[in-house]
Structure formats: C-alpha cells, structure tokens
Subunit: 155 residues, 2 copies
DNA sequence: GTTGAAACGTATCTACC
DNA sequence: GGTAGATACGTTTCAAC
C-alpha cells in the first residue's frame, strides 16, 4: 500500500478514531464540519487504503491480573541469518511477547513482555532462552507505566 | 477497580474483542455458544468493570509516513522526586512518545518514540533533552518490527 | 462537496421463563 | 443461563443538487 496524502480532515478523523472507534459517523462528521455521507466515504477510503488497519478493544492489564511489564534487551552471539530468523520466530510465538524489535546499537533485540507476576516471568524466561544461544540478556522490570498509547503522532 | 475472576467464556470474548472489536454481539455469541442477550450482558459487565477500557482504531504507521521507531533508554543524574516528576511530565507530553516506563535495572527510563524519519527524531530529541539534565541517553533505532500487538496474553 | 430519506441491520433493554 | 419482542440507533446507499 503506497503512501497517500491526507488532508486536514482525514487527519482529524484519524485522530478521533485512534482515541475512540465507537464514535458514530454522524458524531465524527459533526466534529469535522461535514455531513455523514462524505465523512463515511472518507472513513471507507481510509480503511481500503489500509491506513486504518484494524479496530480493537484495549484491556486494562491490572484488571485481569497482568501486573508486570518487562523490557528484555538481547545481544546475540550468532549473527547468521538462519539463526536470527529461527530466534525471531521462536520469541514472537509467545503470547507474552507483545512487542519485538530488531535494533541498531548496543543491543540486537528488544522485547516487551507482559506477565502476571515475577514467577510467571521466570517460567517465560526459561522457555525463551531454552532453545537458543544468546550472548547477553538484560531484563528490566517496569516499576511504573508513565505512558502507553496506541495513537500514532499524526502531525 | 478490583480484580475480577473471569470464566472461560469471558476470556474467549475478550480474546476476540482484542483482535477485532467490530464483531457484532450475535457473531461473538455464536462463537462462544451463547445467545445474544447473555453475551451482550457479559460485554456490558466487562466494560463496567473497566476490563475493556476502550475501543480504538489502529493505524498502519508506514501508510501515514511514520517509518521510524526509536527505543530511548535513559539514565538520570538527578534522583529527586520533584525532578523525576517534572521530567516524566515533560517527556510524556510529546505525541511522539507512545510508551514510557520507569524501569528497574541499569536504565531508569525507557521511551518508545515514533517519528517519520531520522531528521524528525533529531528535532524531537533536541526538544526532549533541552529542558532537563540527563546523565546518559542511548537511542536505538528499530531496524525491523518483528511483532506488535495490543492483545494482552489472557491465559 | 451538500441534503434528505429510505432500507436495513444491530444494539439495547424489557419482560418473562 | 434462556427466548421473544419493541424500540431506538447506526450504518449504508441512493437520488438530486
């Protein structure tokens, strides 16, 4: 999907939907000073262009007993592409791994892991490193979540 | 909001809504072998209990020109609580900062930053560090996003 | 872009089993 | 947990401007 230029109205619509996708078309239309029909067409287009990729429910982790966020930084000892692929597939397969990036810089990978508690993390961690040979792993526990948003910064 | 026990059906509903919140109540009901009314009541309850906190649209960053994810790890030189609060407030105020944690371990803070490109990051970075005194900052650029999900691991 | 309206489906809520 | 049903609301589409 190629990059598409968005006008001011598109951006305003996206900002709203990023905060709350239960807003009705007529409500959104009103806020951007349009009527429902053109507003509805814009939203359809944004979905077809895959700019809006999905609509999801966000859960409060604390309210379902998921209290621990862990940032795992990894240095690999093996830099063969087949090994890397296998590792990536292995790590990504865990539900507990909610984010996973290959990085430039000192560390090769960063994982964000969500688990109920420390002992669950221990279980997860053992499974993560069981199959693979990793040079260095640093797990940092989140003492406080200062900010978390799924809303992308639209200028 | 206190922790509530969820039965198998609640969990199944949450898993679905974490993937796609446009599913109709009747569709969800069918999949969990319920009729619409009790299923609807469960969803209402999950919202009232703030287990479902919000419903949002997720955008494809690449399709709106946001191609760069940066992981910023920070060590602070000042550990006074007033300073920390001020710094946290300052950093969290940027739209580009989509996640922000205070950590245990070597680094004090981790920020996840999303920007269009390197030069935008540079602008952001200068603004971030302009006002505050930080001992050490390490910015790692995401070469590859291997996994990103908003779905929490419900067991 | 706009208005207005029709057609349709779904959500919501009630009453009752 | 279940059914049935009434209402209200949102979406979706169309015609005409």
């Amino acid at each position: 999907m190629k990059n598409t230029s968005l006008d001011k109205t598109d951006k305003a619509i996206l900002k709203m939907l990023q905060q709350d996708c239960t807003l009705s078309v007529s409500e959104i239309a009103e806020r951007v000073a349009l009527t429902t029909t053109p507003c509805w067409k814009r939203i359809q287009r944004l979905e077809q262009q895959n700019i809006i990729s999905k609509r999801v429910a966000l859960l409060k982790p604390q309210n379902i007993g998921l209290d621990l966020v862990v940032v795992v930084m990894i240095k690999t000892s093996n830099h063969e592409s087949t090994w890397l692929e296998k590792f990536a597939e292995h790590a990504a397969s865990f539900d507990e791994v909610v984010e996973f990036y290959r990085l430039s810089g000192i560390y090769d990978y960063m994982l964000k892991v969500i688990v109920p508690d420390m002992s669950s993390f221990d279980v997860f961690y053992k499974k993560l490193v069981a199959k693979v040979n990793i040079a260095e792993v640093t797990s940092s526990f989140a003492m406080e979540q200062i900010k978390y948003t799924t809303a992308l910064p639209i200028k």
